[in-house]
């Protein structure tokens, strides 16, 4: 396996891991909002902000997962 292919595979693995981390971020964002709401200290604007971040994190996770898949396929096809 050439060095280029190894590098591409490594990128794919890192991005796949990042996609999972971003997916976890959505859970962490929900937990933040829920925690503040439960304590009665959530600012009125927080829900809108968290909702926007949740959607963005989900989209980013999907984008990264797609990029990871493409990188893996690229590595497969470029292998001799």
């Amino acid at each position: 396996m050439s060095a280029q292919i190894a590098a591409i595979i490594a990128h794919a693995e890192v991005l796949r891991s990042d996609a999972r981390a971003l997916a976890a971020c959505t859970e962490r964002l929900r937990a933040i909002e829920a925690g503040l709401k439960a304590g009665g200290g959530a600012p009125h604007w927080l829900h809108a902000s968290v909702t926007a971040h949740l959607a963005a994190c989900a989209a980013a996770a999907a984008d990264l997962e797609t990029a990871a898949q493409r990188l893996s396929r690229y590595a497969d096809e470029a292998s001799p």
């Binding site: 591409i8 990128h11 600012p43 971040h53 984008d63 990264l64």
Partner: protein, 725 residues
Amino acid sequence: MTAENDPAAGPLRAAARELVDIALTIQDAAAHATAALTDDALLRALPHAPSAARQTYRALLRATTNRQGLGCALTGGRLATVSAKAGAMLGAESLAVRVLATSLRLRVAAVAVAHPELTGDPMLARLIDAAAADRDLEAVRALRSLLKDRGAVHALSQLAPVFGEVLALRALLDENPLNDATAWLIATGKGFATADPITGMSNRAVAVLDTGEGAARRIELTAAESARLCTRGSLLGFLGNISTIGTTGRALVQSVEGPDGVIRHVLQAPGMRVGRPDGESPQDLLGAFSSAVLASSPYSRALAEAVADYGLPPGAELALVGHSAGGAAIMNLAQDPDFCARHTVTHAVAVGSPVDFKHPADPRTWVASVTNQHDIIPTLDGQGAGTCFDLHPDWYVVDYGDSTHLFPHCHSIEHYLANITDHLPEARDLIDERLTPFRGQVVRSQAYLLFDRPPDPEEFPFLTVPTRAVESPEGTVELPIRCRDGNALTAYFAVRPTAAAGLLEGTGLGPAVQVAGHALVAVHAAWNRHTSAGGYGELHVGVVAPGPFRRRSRPPVWSDLLRRRSCLSVWPDLLRAADLRRSGSFLVGSAVDTTIVRALGPRLWGGETYLTPLELRLGTRSAHVTVGQILTLRGRLGPGLPLSDPGLVGYTREAGAVLRSCVRTRGQARLHPAPSLRLVVEPQSTHPLADQLCELGLDGARPLLCLSATTRQTLRDAAVPVPPA
């Protein structure tokens, strides 16, 4: 009360911290995607699978630029950074930035728990909301309304608790790419704000303008200041000393005998000196800036010089106490391994100082930081009341709010002293308890004047001359008298020629110098603050004469013309350096205010010298001379033309000979062609000099012109006889 202790603010700060973690995770993902996109490996493999490569690049580009996902998230590497900055300029923030902005808004909300005015005040709330929503125009309008309604002082003071957060919000969301790094540092608490959050101008670039190895010279405090210094060590005592020294470019080192009988030492460093931003003092504006931003600054190096000069025994225990820039400077000493190797720095107490990113070299150094939440100065490192990070869990941090919100008043050492005395008894007691080894009798105090770089010796080169001791009835004095620091005023009056003619008769000094048919009389007053004979004032009254060895009168037909020419030629001579000058004042009377100089009078200038109180107050615009029961000369000096101080030449007649005395000077003077001063002889005075002034017609007279020198050095040696013609 500190916001940190407020239970309602805790969850908000924790949520803000968690959001920072999430933002960093997102930023890492963005960096990884950018790294993949820009990796040469992908490009080199392209010929083997062009179709898959195209799809891969498309997916990576989408991942790093999708506004619904990571946003404009290119990061890392030069090209990616340029692209990201271009994106920022187009207003396309990354998801990480948006999450960080939410974290900062939660920090503002946490501060608002203790400061409800931040969200309850419609104007403040409008500004904060506009900053958080990236509505530039709205934010500017809100700020303008706030300034107009409250004034700059109130607006700044009210914003102070969240100043860092609001600036960071603006910096994160605005279109200026230069301030993004600073906003990240403030928002993530990773380090000192490296640039101005508004313009993005590098703080370090500004701080490095403050150069110098630092120097300290011993200086005596005034009697009043010495009397106000604490006699026993305590937190309030040391802070009171800092207040006494003031922001005058000085610092203080004291030794105290602790309760265990051990002598320990305390360095006390005040805040920024008001005046030129970059003067000779390391306590100027640039010095304050560099002390806060850099690990070592001219201020901290000057303090180290002071400690070295003070002469601490090896390993002696040392406590450091500083206010404002002084707090940052003492923390620089505490984090200097070399300094801590020479001295045992046991305590560092910083009051109203930006010290969040300082780290003592010796982990045993106990650190206390006291800050008022309405004081902007401690937030200049980016972390203020709203910080959600516990950067120094081992420090004792008091971040309090008081009812007085006004900045800069709340930054003053006097305000901190009052707060610690009256409102923070718990903090005061705890710090005092930790300072117990230093709470004893003060056994030595030494003040230092601090400099960016070692100053030239005050007397070099002008006053570095051979000297000799001379005896007088009042004691021994070194001649020439060397004055390091003084000022002087010479006022030239027009008087009746007949009044002056008799005085000069037989002196060989020629007829009095005339102006429009009037003789010229000089009244010279000088205040010699620091001289080799002590401080003294002097007054001389004399008729201005061309001097000896002038050409005699010519045949009658030419005499009138030649006399005029002769008079004209005197004027340039009057402005020549004293040691080269022939013209001078034939002294009709002199007065001084110290017995030793009076005793030297006959030797220094000859003639009668009176002893009388003398006061000279000289500014750039006005002068006020009071000479005992003799005269008052005061009024406005008017515009002045700069010139080199020409010094003074005096002549007297002594036992049939004419003596010439000379004051050589170094410094700048100003020639005032239209002064509005008036000389008044003291009414009913029987003083001989007062009589003389009246005879010359000077009572109520206004000078034609004046010569003032507000700062000068002088050399005055003994008068010498004029050789016979």
